[in-house]
Each structure stands twice: as structure tokens, then as C-alpha cells.
Symmetry: C2
Subunit: 679 residues, 2 copies
């Protein structure tokens, strides 16, 4: 048994912990018959989506597997399939438990907030532990099995990325189509409240929370997690070959493995503390867990740094990543929470109508890019130079990978806190649909509102980690493609940069349009049901929930094809046609523009959402006023911004860099066909 497999065992420990948590949740009461029935619809809908998705995934994974077999060999192909399967498992576990925890949270809320918080958060923790457990387990097994050859490992990352694409983009389209459809016809046209069981799209809407916010987010961070580990191993191998100073001849590989394993332990401690917190305020409970988890990781990383490298430079690189991640989360909150002036300004601007609401929301999102970018820049520079990038660039690039590892070390906790939100949201939906007493809904609403803040922070964190992971993967790609220079003065690099920077805009347009198309279908179906099902408005006729679930599912799966193909084909195409250096420019452009568009769209959307809620609290006229109507317009535009297009950018930049990394040997050998013709 080597050290990597020991770390893998920690992953197994995380999975066992998830299992225990899951059993604990399932042992709780699922409430009365009506609640069980409704929860059953949601779970069935979620599983129906997954089943259909797996069908397409099987075809996709099969096709890419053949492509890899033909071009790169069986080892990478196996790693790819394992990566895909592990990511699927993580999503499956998370969804399974989330759709079981939702109704039990509602039931527990009948007896008070504490029990409800515990179940909802445990549900999120299952997702978090599945992500990190499967992540470190998969990498450690494959790394050992392939005799410590990191090249094959990249296939694992590609597998994870591919599933993340389907989960994030498909999930994002699913959830927003259902949400917009349910709101527009139900709330606006028919005048019935949110989560009303008479609304045919209401189940699809609740399924969407799980599909998009639980499974999508989980797959996204699973990708970042394994991506950062793989890039750290790649760059660590190079750093050791270049003679990085250390006390152990495998220090540069041991360090990230041990750190992530320590992060899992720290996350478990944090989760236990948050679950058992006596704080009345759920936010405080979650915060206390996160802080303690973070502190544990920081201490362990300092110890590990001293033990393996004989100093604290590696520790500083890790610390910088962790701090940058947390600060980006905080900045996200400042730009998207009604406690700060940006959001209240949007609400104020809504008084002059929808147009001024839109303009100010767009402006807030655009402005909000500044500090995160500067933070990422500082993170890159500090981690590069502290590790000695000045002496040898390879050392510095390894430092950047370490800062990504630092940011992602407490992924288990981050995902737990994040996935807790949609579970609480679902619990509220079930409480409403099942007609539970008002006090129950108040408790779930309180949990949900905390969840909204954590979700915003989680989104910022996801973007930050995607940026650092992509940059680390980018450096790893250059290593693998054997290019030592990506010169912007070469027009071919510049052309790559322009095209790469363009792709996030195209991706944003495609995903927004997909949501529109899917939402339109949903709107028509809901209208049709209201018209044709007798007694539906009186609560006598039963709405056809399954039909709406089916529309969201079909639309999501259909619409994610084109963006998916673009994300995979374009880096390979650029590399083969214009060469590795153009591909380097392309990735640089794509990462820069992708991070910006991601922050812009996610924060605009979050700010609009909370501006509307701020108006609903009675400000500037309150609910039903013209100001509120303007606020609703912004919120509706913001839905695909923050839950579909924005988060999809994370996947886009990571997927394109890892595709480049996997196919780097091929591009190094055959790349630049068109360029050679021009020349």
C-alpha cells in the first residue's frame, strides 16, 4: 500500500461518512401520505432525468472513448471512462439523498428549526463527501494502477469534465425552463402562488432545484477538484524533474494528495460542528463549521509544507488560494446581497421601469468583475513567485497549481453548504404543496434565505476555483504539448486569443436561447393544461406533472448538445489546424473572457434576484407595484444568467483546457495543418 492509496482510503472514509449521514436521513420520518406522494413525484422526476441523461451519456462516453482509443491508447481511455462513471456516481448519490432529505426537512420543520437544519445540511454533506471521496479515490487508484504515469490520469479529468458539462449545462437549462414556465403562467397569468400544487410545472420546478443546484454544482466542483489535483501532479512531476528543493524525493506529489486528504478530514469535522451547532441563526451554524474546517486545513498545510519541503513556501501558495477563494465569495456577496448598496440601487432604479432595472443590473455585474480578477491576479503572482518561479518557471507554475489545491481543499464543506440551499428550498415547496401550517414554511423560508447567500458565495467560489484550475491545467497543457513559449506577438497566437475570447460569448448566447426555447415549450404546456383539464383550478382535476417533467428533460438533453460539441471540438480543431501555440493563445483568451463573462452573468443575475426580493419586502412600493413589475423583469432575465449561462462558463473553460491537455501529445505531433499550408 502506497501513500496515494492511503489518501484514497481517506476518500473511502468520506464515502462511508456520506453513507452514515444518508442512513441517518432516511431513518427520519417522511411525513404524511400527501408529503410522501409529492416527494415521490420529485424523486421520480429527478431519477427520470438522470436515467434519460445516462442514455445520452453512454453514447457520448462511448464515442469519445473510441476516439481516445484510436489516438491516445487504452490507458487514457480507461481513465476517461472511470472519470465519467465516478462523476456520475457522485451526482447520483447526491441527488438520491437530496430528494430524500427535502421531504424529511419539511417534516422536521414541523417540530422546529434545529432538526430541519440538521437534515437539510446532512443532505448537502452527502453530496460534498461523495464529490471529494470519489475524487481522491479515483485519482489515487488510477495513478497507482498506471504506475505513476500522470499522462493517463488526464483522461480521468476529461471524464469528470464531460459529465460536468452535461450536468451543469443540461441541469441549468432544465431548472430554468421549469422555473420560468411555472412562474410565468402560474404566478403571473393564473395568479396562483408559488409552489401551488395546481400548477402543472410545480414538480418540474422542484426537480429542477435538484438537477441544477445539487447535481450540477456537484459535478462542477468534482471537475475542479480532480482537475486541480491532476494539474498539481503534472506540474509537480515537472518541478521535481527540474530539481525543486524538498526533503522528500516525491514531495511535490505527496503534498497535494496529503493536503486534499487532510481537507476531507477537516471537512468532516466542520460538518459535524455545523450540524451540532447550538446557534439559533443557521448562517452562524454553517459559518462556524466552515471556519473551523478552514483553520484545520491551514494548520495541516503548514505542517505538511515544513515536513515535505523544509519550509513554508508551499504553505503560502496554498494559503493564498484558500484566502482568494474566500474573498471572491465575500465579494460575490457584496455585489449580490440586499445588505449592500449595489442591490438596493437596482431596486431604486426599478422605479423608472424595467429598462433602468436592466441597465443597472448589467452594470453591477460588469463592475463586479474587477476585484475577483485582481484577487486571482494576486493569487497567481504570489503563488508563482513564492515557490521560486523566478529561478525556474516550472516551480512557479507548480505553485499556481498548489493555490488551486488550497482553494479546493475544503470542497467537501463548500459543496455541503451549497447543496443545503436547494434542499431547504425543496422542503419549503413540499410544505406549501402539502398544505402544512404556516410556521413550517416560515422555518424552511429562513433556511432557504440563508441558502441563497451561501449559494451566491458558492458560485463565486466555483468561478474562482474554475479560473485557478484552468490556469493550472493551461500550464500543464504547455508542458504536455512541449511548448515553451506562447508568444502574443505571433499573429497566430493573437488569432487564437481572439477566437478563444469569443467562445464564452457564443456559449452564453446558446445557453440563454436554449432556456428561452425550453421555457416557451413549458409555458405552452402549462397553458394547455390549465385550459383542457377540467377542475384543475379548483384543485379537483389532477395536473399532468409528468408531462412537464418530460418537457424540461427533453429540452435540457437536446439543447446541451451543441454547446457541448463546441466545447470539445473547438480546442482540438484549433490545435490541429493552427498548432499548439495558437491553441495556447486560444486557451488564454477563453479563460480570461470566460471568467469575466461568468462573474458578470452570475452576479448580475444574483443582484436582480435579490433586488426583486428587496422590493417584495415593501421597499419602493413593494409587491404588486410598478417597481415590483420592473424587478420581476430583471429577475427573469437573471434566471438564465445566474443559473445556466454563467455557471456553464466554469465548465467551458475547464473542459477546453483539459481537452487540450489530454490531446496535447496528438497536437504536438500533428498540429498546425492549416498553418503549414498558409506558410
Amino acid at each position: 500500500m502506497n501513500l496515494y492509496l492511503l489518501c484514497g482510503l481517506v476518500g473511502v472514509f468520506a464515502l462511508i461518512f456520506a453513507l452514515v449521514l444518508g442512513k441517518g436521513i432516511n431513518s427520519k420520518s417522511a411525513g404524511n401520505e400527501r408529503m410522501k406522494e409529492l416527494a415521490g413525484y420529485i424523486q421520480d422526476g429527478a431519477m427520470a432525468f438522470l436515467k434519460r441523461e445516462y442514455f445520452y451519456l453512454a453514447i457520448f462516453v462511448g464515442a469519445v472513448c473510441v476516439l481516445i482509443l484510436l489516438t491516445l491508447g487504452w490507458q487514457t481511455a480507461i481513465a476517461f471512462v472511470v472519470g465519467a462513471i465516478f462523476s456520475i456516481f457522485a451526482g447520483y448519490f447526491g441527488m438520491r439523498i437530496a430528494t430524500s432529505a427535502n421531504v424529511r426537512t419539511a417534516e422536521a420543520a414541523r417540530h422546529g428549526q434545529k432538526g430541519a437544519l440538521e437534515i437539510a445540511f446532512s443532505g448537502g454533506a452527502v453530496m460534498g463527501m461523495s464529490v471529494v471521496g470519489l475524487g481522491i479515490l479515483g485519482v489515487s487508484i488510477l495513478y497507482t494502477a498506471f504506475d505513476y504515469n500522470v499522462v493517463y490520469l488526464t483522461g480521468f479529468g476529461l471524464g469528470a469534465s464531460s459529465i460536468a458539462l452535461f450536468a451543469r449545462v443540461g441541469g441549468g437549462i432544465y431548472t430554468k425552463a421549469a422555473d420560468v414556465g411555472a412562474d410565468l403562467v402560474g404566478k403571473v397569468e393564473a395568479g396562483i402562488p408559488e409552489d401551488d400544487p395546481r400548477n402543472p410545472a410545480v414538480i418540474a420546478d422542484n426537480v429542477g432545484d435538484n438537477v441544477g443546484d445539487v447535481a450540477g454544482m456537484g459535478a462542477d466542483l468534482f471537475e475542479s477538484y480532480v482537475g486541480s489535483l491532476i494539474s498539481a501532479i503534472t506540474l509537480g512531476t515537472a518541478a521535481m524533474a527540474a530539481g525543486i528543493e524538498s526533503l522528500n524525493d516525491k514531495a511535490a506529489i505527496f503534498f497535494p494528495f496529503l493536503l486534499l486528504a487532510a481537507g476531507i478530514v477537516a471537512s468532516v469535522v466542520g460538518i459535524l460542528i455545523a450540524r451540532k451547532s447550538k446557534a439559533d441563526n443557521p448562517q452562524k451554524a454553517l459559518d462556524s463549521g466552515t471556519y473551523i474546517g478552514g483553520i484545520i486545513v491551514i494548520i495541516i498545510s503548514a505542517v505538511l509544507s515544513k515536513m515535505l519541503f523544509g519550509g513554508f513556501t508551499a504553505f503560502i501558495a496554498v494559503l493564498v488560494g484558500l484566502v482568494v477563494g474566500m474573498l471572491i465569495g465575500k465579494i460575490t456577496e457584496i455585489y449580490t446581497s440586499a445588505d449592500y448598496k449595489h442591490v438596493t440601487n437596482i431596486a431604486e432604479q426599478s422605479q423608472t421601469g424595467a429598462a433602468t432595472n436592466i441597465i443597472s443590473g448589467l452594470a453591477v455585474g460588469m463592475k463586479s468583475t474587477m476585484i475577483p480578477i485582481i484577487l486571482i491576479a494576486i493569487g497567481v503572482l504570489v503563488s508563482f513567485y513564492v515557490m521560486g518561479g523566478n529561478t525556474n518557471a516550472t516551480f512557479g507554475l507548480y505553485g499556481i497549481a498548489l493555490s488551486a489545491i488550497g482553494m479546493l481543499s475544503i470542497t467537501g464543506l463548500t459543496v455541503a453548504v451549497d447543496a443545503y440551499g436547494p434542499i431547504a428550498d425543496n422542503a419549503g415547496g413540499i410544505a406549501e404543496m402539502a398544505g402544512l401550517p404556516k410556521e413550517v414554511r416560515q422555518i424552511t423560508d429562513k433556511l432557504d434565505s440563508v441558502g441563497n447567500t451561501t449559494a451566491a458565495i458558492g458560485k463565486g467560489f466555483a468561478i474562482g476555483s474554475a479560473a485557478l484550475t484552468s490556469l493550472a491545467l493551461f500550464a500543464a497543457f504547455a508542458q504536455a504539448a512541449k511548448i515553451t513559449n506562447i508568444d502574443l506577438l505571433e499573429p497566430i497566437t493573437l488569432v487564437g486569443l481572439l477566437i478563444g475570447a469569443m467562445l464564452p460569448f457564443i456559449f452564453g448566447a446558446l445557453t440563454m436561447e436554449s432556456v428561452s426555447k425550453a421555457a416557451n415549450e413549458m409555458i405552452e404546456e402549462v397553458r394547455r393544461q390549465f385550459k383542457t383539464i377540467p377542475g384543475i383550478m379548483e384543485g379537483k382535476g389532477k395536473p399532468d406533472y409528468a408531462k412537464c417533467v418530460d418537457i424540461s428533460t427533453t429540452a435540457a438533453l437536446k439543447e446541451m448538445m451543441l454547446p457541448g460539441i463546441i466545447a470539445i471540438v473547438s480546442p482540438i480543431g484549433i490545435g490541429l489546424l493552427l498548432g499548439a501555440e495558437a491553441l495556447g493563445g486560444f486557451l488564454g483568451g477563453a479563460v480570461a473572457s470566460g471568467v469575466l463573462v461568468a462573474i458578470f452573468m452570475a452576479n448580475s443575475g444574483g443582484a436582480w434576484d435579490n433586488a426583486k426580493k428587496y422590493i417584495e419586502l415593501g421597499n419602493f412600493g413593494g409587491k404588486g407595484s410598478e417597481t415590483h413589475k420592473a424587478g420581476v423583469v430583471g429577475d427573469t432575465v437573471g434566471d438564465p444568467f445566474k443559473d445556466t449561462s454563467g455557471p456553464s462558463m466554469n465548465i467551458l473553460i475547464k473542459l477546453m483546457t483539459i481537452v487540450s491537455l489530454v490531446f496535447a501529445p496528438l497536437i504536438a505531433e500533428y498540429g498546425g495543418i492549416l498553418l503549414n499550408l498558409i506558410k
Copy 2:
């Protein structure tokens, strides 16, 4: 007399031609007393804006001049001041004539379309000829005076760029504040028609057309014009030193000068043809002039290429630029004209409300970035490799500069066609305000609608030329800063790239917010006047036009400060703190992201505008319907998109590259202070 001064003489010829056209316009009747009065208000307002602007400009130019004197020497300082003054002159002449041609176009329209078209187009031609005449004259005189030392010439470009910043950003804020203010209170709240003389903001609105669309556009293209010439001289000098193959030892400098001189002659021919065209359709008249002008330039450039270089490679580089410019214009039309599905789709989506209108408009803008970027990429690659960039990179970079020259060779015509639109628009406004017969307004409306299409194409052209000019200036910067490599694998370059790519987002947010702020002030003032001036609604009380003009003026001048400072300080700051290579990455990121944001915003805005007009033609419910209201929301959001923030990006990327070029010697010597500390 050298060849450059001869080319400068062609510039004098252009100015004389402008003078003759201007005299011709002024000799026409300015209509009845009421028309003269109204036109007087507009002209006074425009001149008041210019006067106030000049005051700030004087301070600004003085301050930068001192900075240059202290750091770079008196020659660059003089060139800077001359560049600023020449740009100011061009704007002044153009505005002066535009505000004189508007009322005469209205008067001529009483007697038929042909005369009206001739005056409006002649007015635009004065602006076009002023731009190219002063541009080539200034560069040729300074180049000769400084004994053919191109380094000092960059100051001229910086002067032009600085004024363009004020004209484009300030003008954009001015025109949209007035437009939104006039529309929102006048049309929506008070229910009076557009261009109604009872509306206090109506004069400011008409002034805005001149300030933004005539002077702003003119300064923008003046900057591109001289910027492309200066970069061609810089890179041509380097190419000759590197031994580019030619039949004349100054071929690489002679060629761009002669080509632009030929372009002026071709533009004059094109203008004369368009003016005297017998076509009933004004679009055809303008097109015929443009095509013939283009063909003349193409033929001459082939001849010059053969004469100076002994072959057609330089010709191909020029041709590629010209074709790319025209195609980008055409693509812009496809994405923003109601003759194509993108715009009608937006109109269709407006049926489900403002939110879907906004989402589809944003998606159209984002999608529309693809083809222009690919066209620019093709232009860069073809012009680089055809000139032998493969053998020697310097030759290839010179080729890129030539393609920018090619695109800008018929600037005289492009500006003429472009500035014609706002003159026709103004004429319609005056006709409406003066109560002229309906037939007059129909004619000006027809001229105006053609102007809208040409404006969209002109915007595409301005973006394309800004992109190519910036890339050429970027290459010139690298030469001047003596860097031979801008390596994206260096984290410092990557950090520069991220920060550079971020700036257009910040710039976009700031300019949008400025429009909002200024428009809000305008709205309050118009409301106040409606409330407090007795008899204003009955047409008896006289609105205080001057007050509204003053609000727009003050707001525009105040709000352009911060964006202006950012654009000038940030490249110098990055260069001094992080070094020339980081600045290179910064410029690469800024140009890529700036071009994308520019296309996105300009085309979203244009598409929303025409979607609204398409609905007003009676589609999907027509005027007054809910669909129309949704369309108005999109149009209002689109106003700052297409007329303020979008076009400001052109300035931003050119200004930042030329600032870097001018201060390159300083940065090469002292740059990287912070970086050296970190290391």
C-alpha cells in the same frame, strides 16, 4: 517638397473640397423664420457643448503635455498638441456644417427628395473630408518636420485619441441622456409625439444627434485613420530596416501615404457620384458612390503595390483589410436589420414580455461576435503571411498595418455616409417642430431610415478598423518597447491579460451608469418644466430648452472623467509596475475583450432598436400593444449599448494601445518596479 508633403497637399485639397461643399450648403435656403429659430437653438446648443468641452480639453491637453514634456521631450509634446488641435478642428467643422445642413435639408425636402438627399449627404461629406484631410496633412507635416523620426509622430496619434475619448464617451453620454429623457417623459408620460416642440428636452435631443453621431463618430475614425498610418510608418520603418523586398528604398513608407492620398481622391469621386446619382432610392445612391470609391482604391493600390514592391503582396494585404471591413459592415446589418430573422425573432419574443425581449436581444448581440472575429482573424493571418511574416515577423506585422490602412483608405466616404444619417434625422426633427407638411417628414423619414442602416454598417466598420488599428499599434508598441516576446506562459503576462480583458467590462459599466445618472437628471428637469411652466402643454408657455442642453452638457463632461482617466492611467500603471511584457498581455486582453464587448453591445442595441421599429410597423400587435411596450424596454436598454458603451470600446482599445506606444521608451527603461520587488 517631399512625397509626404505632396500627400499632405491632397489633404489640403480634401479640405478645400469640404469648404466648397460647405459653402454650397450654406448658400441654400434655411426655410422660414420658425425653422431658422429652431435650427438656431440646435446650433447654439451644439456650440455650447463644444465650447464647454474645449475648456476641459484645454486643461487635459495641458496636463498631458506637461507630463510628456517631462518624460519624453518636446517633440512628442508638440505632436500631441497638434494632434489634439487637428482632431478638435475636424469635429468643429463637421458639427458646424451638420447643424447648418439639417435645417436646409428640411427646407429642400419641401421640394422633393433629391435636393434633400444632396444637402444631407454633402453635410456628411464635409465631416468625412475634414477627417481625412486633417489626418493626412497633420501626419505628413509632422513627419517631415521631425526629420522622418516616427517616434515623435506617436504623440500626434495620442492627441487624436484623447480628443476621440472625450468626443465619443462624452458625446455618447450627452446624446443618450437627452434621448432617454425626452422619450421617457415626453412620449411615455406626457403622451406627446417625438420631436414635439413642447418637450423641453427636444432641442437637447437634436443637439445630441450632432454631438454623438457626427462629432463622436468623426473623432473615432480620425483616430483610427491617423493611428493606422502611424503604425504603418512605425512598422514600415522596421520592415525596411529588416530588408523587406522593394523597388524603392522608402517603399514601405511611401505606400501607406500614397494609398491614403489615393483614397481621398477616390472618396471625392465617390461623393460626387453619390450626390449626383439619379437613383430614386437613396440607399442605391449612397451604395453606388461607395462601390465606385472602393473600386478606384483597389485599382490604385494594385498599381502602387507593383510600382513600389514589384509585386502584388502589399496589394493583397490592403485588399483583405478593405474586404474584411465591408463584410463586417454587412454582418452588422444582418444582425441588426429587420430584414433578417435575428431582429424579427426579438420582436416575436417580445410577445411574452420585456424579459424575453431582453434575453433574446442579449443573445443576438453575443452571437453576432462570431463572424466578425473570424473575419478579423482571417485578415490578420492573410496580411501577415502574404507579406512574408513567415520569413521575417517584421514584414508580416507591417502587412497587418497595411490591412488596417486598406480598411481605412475610404474613410472619407465612410464618414460621409455615416454622418449623413444624423443630419437627415435632425431635418426630420426640425420639420416636425416647425409644423411642416406631412410630406416633408415622409421624405426626411425615408432618408433617415436609410441612415439607420448606414449607421449600423458604419458602426461595424468603426469596430473593425479599431480592432485592426489596435493590433497594428500593439505590434508597433512591442517594437518601440524593444520586447521580442510576450509569453502567455509567464504568469505576469497572464495577469496582464486578465486585467486587460477586465477593463472593457468596467468601462461598459461606468458609461452605462453615466447615461442612467444623466438621464435621471434630465427626466426630473423635464417633469419640473411640465409642472411649473404655465401653458407649456398648450404650446403657449415656452419651454426652457437651454436648461436641458445644459444638463446634458454638464453630465457628459463630468461623467467622462473617470473612464478617461482609467483608459490613460491603467496602461502606464501596468507598464511601470509590472513591466513591458505584462503590458503586452494587458493590451492583448484589452483588445480581444474590447472588440467582443463592442460588437456585443453595438449589435444588441441595434437589434433592439429595429425590433421595436418592426413592431411599430404593425407586427405582433403594433404600436401601443403589450408587445410594443416590451420592445420599448429593449430599445431603451439598447440606447446606451449602441450609442455610448459599445462605441466607447473602440476608443478604449485604441487609446490604451497608443498610450502604451507613446510611453514605450519610458516603460522599457523604468517598467516593472513592483515585479522587481516581488522577485
